[in-house]
Amino acid sequence: MEDTESLTFRTDEVPPELDREAYSEEGVDLTLIRWMLFLSPTERLKVLQQNVQSLARLCNEGTLS
């Protein structure tokens, strides 16, 4: 089973070899993929959760203004 803690490490541990290409030929942002891959599954879900909540707040503000 993939362990939550074992995948968590600091950004200064990201191997520099990975940072050469920023985009794939199809235009996919590889920096975002690498950033997500260096988070644990729990942290990835929190990022998603925060994005959804942030967009919901924006929608609420838009409706109220």
């Binding site: 993929i33 599954p41 959804v52």
Partner: protein, 171 residues
């Protein structure tokens, strides 16, 4: 109108507490594997075994689940629909929940089980479709919205392999 709060982890916790057998698929599955995509609902393929349907119904009652897109009417899911291979698009007190009897080329819970991994997420052990099979299914479905995300999923898989290779080389 206030936008309802969404809490995927709490939603999953409720299902786990009720002992529901399910596999996480779709956008949340992609995110758990490290794909940087946005999604607003939780997609699950549930076991349609009678005992599991009972547990699922109990969880859905706790979540005050009802069908989305029915206007003012609050239609609640029942065992007949949950036993079908169709897709039940629900709203719950913790956010949108899609319960899928089958996905892709009519693959059900039992078919998908061997293509899953177990992940530890927020103290829960969750069964998640593996990234390779998620890509296959999105290719099978072939909808524009599915096709659009395939390059990101493929790249996530490739980058994951590169990182694992580098880790192994470094010991």
């Amino acid at each position: 109108m206030r936008v309802p709060s969404v809490d995927f982890l709490a939603l999953l916790q409720t299902l786990v507490t009720h002992g529901v057998d399910f596999i996480i698929v779709g956008g949340v599955c992609a995110v758990l594997h490290g794909a940087p995509i946005a999604t607003f609902d939780l997609d699950l393929v549930h076991s349609r075994a009678p005992d599991n349907i009972d547990r699922l119904l109990s969880a859905l009652r706790d979540l005050d689940a009802y069908y989305r897109g029915q206007g003012e009417r609050r239609l609640h899911p029942d065992s007949t629909y949950l036993t079908s291979p169709g897709h039940q698009l629900l709203m719950t007190s913790l956010g949108p929940l899609d319960l899928l009897g089958t996905i892709g080329a009519h693959r059900n819970y039992a078919d998908l089980l061997e293509h899953t991994v177990e992940l530890q997420v927020g103290g829960l052990r969750l069964r998640v479709l593996n990234l390779e099979t998620l890509i296959e299914i999105k290719e099978e479905v072939g909808h524009e919205k599915d096709k659009a995300v395939i390059p990101i999923l493929r790249r996530t898989l490739q980058e994951k392999s590169r990182i694992e290779k580098l880790r192994n080389e470094r010991g």
